[in-house]
Amino acid sequence: MSNPIINAKGLNKRYGKYHALKDVSFTLDSGRILGLIGPNGAGKTTLLKSLLGLTPFDGELSIFGLNPHTQRDELMKRVCFIADVAVLPRWMKVSEAIDFVEGVHPRFSRELCEKYMSKTKIKRNSKVKSLSKGMVVQLHLALIMSIDADLLILDEPTLGLDILFRKDFYEQLLNDYFDENRTIIITTHQVEEVEHILSDLVFIQDGKIVLDDSMDAIAESYYEVMVEKEYEEAALAMNPLNVREVFGQKVCLFSGIAKSQLQELGKVRKPSVADLFVAKMKGEAA
């Protein structure tokens, strides 16, 4: 399937002397869930801002064939985003927030919103400022998920929430919201919580993309091996991407080496995104 909804080519962004995005190129097909992972200050937010038309950029970028910077009004009919947990206006009442989104968004379904809201303990008469942090996110989520958007962008959607909320959030997102016509981009620091729902992975560091692949392709090209003591030297000779030690045993991360060959060294398993991330970041920094 090759109907990329996002097309970025040679994307550059400078803040004065600071080069925030360096020749970023990637495409994303419809019906995918992309995890955009990178350390702080890597350019994630700048990239998302460019995608959302919130900042000018150099290079080519189109979403649904639209330029986010110059055709933002058109684009926002199809794109929705949650930027941060704290952005719902504090003075607003819950009922007003729902009425407002219904009034301005042609693709909003009140029915769906009622459904999501009924799962929460949020009172309609409360003001946003009187809600707990978790409730604000639940409300924001209910509002956004009731919009039939083609592309949903979530920037650290669960920041500052406890584990129960986070689990619920991703479950709802995957089970109730996501389908093959929608595309989702998520950035987060809690990689381990999202990796099972991702279909694509992009690592970004110092404004450059250092990994861009589907989870399937990654599963086939990256392996982690719990190396048996006697094969340690042989393993290290094969240029692992990363070596860490668990209970005195070396764990090596390999890329592009056949699984059968690695199985001779020890137990082979799929690396977690977090481990892959650490390995990649170290590799790039070296």
């Binding site: 900042t55 926002m76 985003f81 206006p89 407002f100 301005v104 920037d155």
Partner: protein
Amino acid sequence: MSTFLTLIKREYWEHKTGLQWVPMIVGGIIVFGVFLAVFVFANSDVRINSVGSYSITDLFGLYDASVSPEQKRVAIQMGSYSSIISFAITLGFVSFFYCLGALYDDRKDKSILFWKSLPVSDSQTVLSKVATVMLLAPFAFWVVLVASNLIVMLLATLFAWFSDASAWDSIWAPSNFFGIAGYQLLALYVATLWAAPVIGYLLLVSSWTKKVPFLVATVPVVLLIIAESIIFKSANVAGYIGERLAGIWNAIMTPFASIAGDFAQAFNMDDEDWIAEKLTPSSYFEQLMDLDLWFGLVAAALFIIGAIYIRRYRDEAL
């Protein structure tokens, strides 16, 4: 259109205090004052030196019997129109601070990222704020103003009954209630037109500034006035602001002249009196034909376009 109405509703929700409660407090104070005058003091006597002691109700009877219908009309209409002054001044303050916050508060608390996540263009957003301050706010104040006038007249009616005077003859017939209400609405809107460039300027500052819109909007103007007076020994900036204030003042005062003019003979006014002529504001028609008003509207439009542009293309923090 539904989007725009929703945006206006949004403004009302956020600014319910300024648009609803503040005018109601002003109206409440007026009504309370009249209430005190009528029902507390109605039972006490007034001592007039060398004339003797009378109850106020007697005095009202005296007024009812002795003042000509013409004069009653002028007195009642002037009186009920004049309640516009406290509303207009309050509306000025409310609008001033509304404009300063309109395009700044949501950037400060970052809720702009919520508004910007919805399919609402920045032109629609900014224009909804313009419509709120130029159309909705004067209207909201006017509704409360008319309601408080009505309540005052009802109190006056009760008072007339206590005084055995005819409420219809002494109050309602000469009141021209709907005519005065119409004057008040017209005055508020014409005053708003005169204020337009100030509104545009404040919205531009609100859209542009990174901090304390109040100081950013006022300090440079004050410095400009001082610098101009020192360097050029002139006062064009201050003069322009004065001209705007005079325009607003004129718009509010015009109906007084109309009411007085309608009944000039009741005052035995000499039409040739040049002082009266100088003090009489121009008519609304003349004001709307005034080129200065239109220059102001053009300036307002440019400021507003600037405010939209800044809001649209600013490098937004995410």
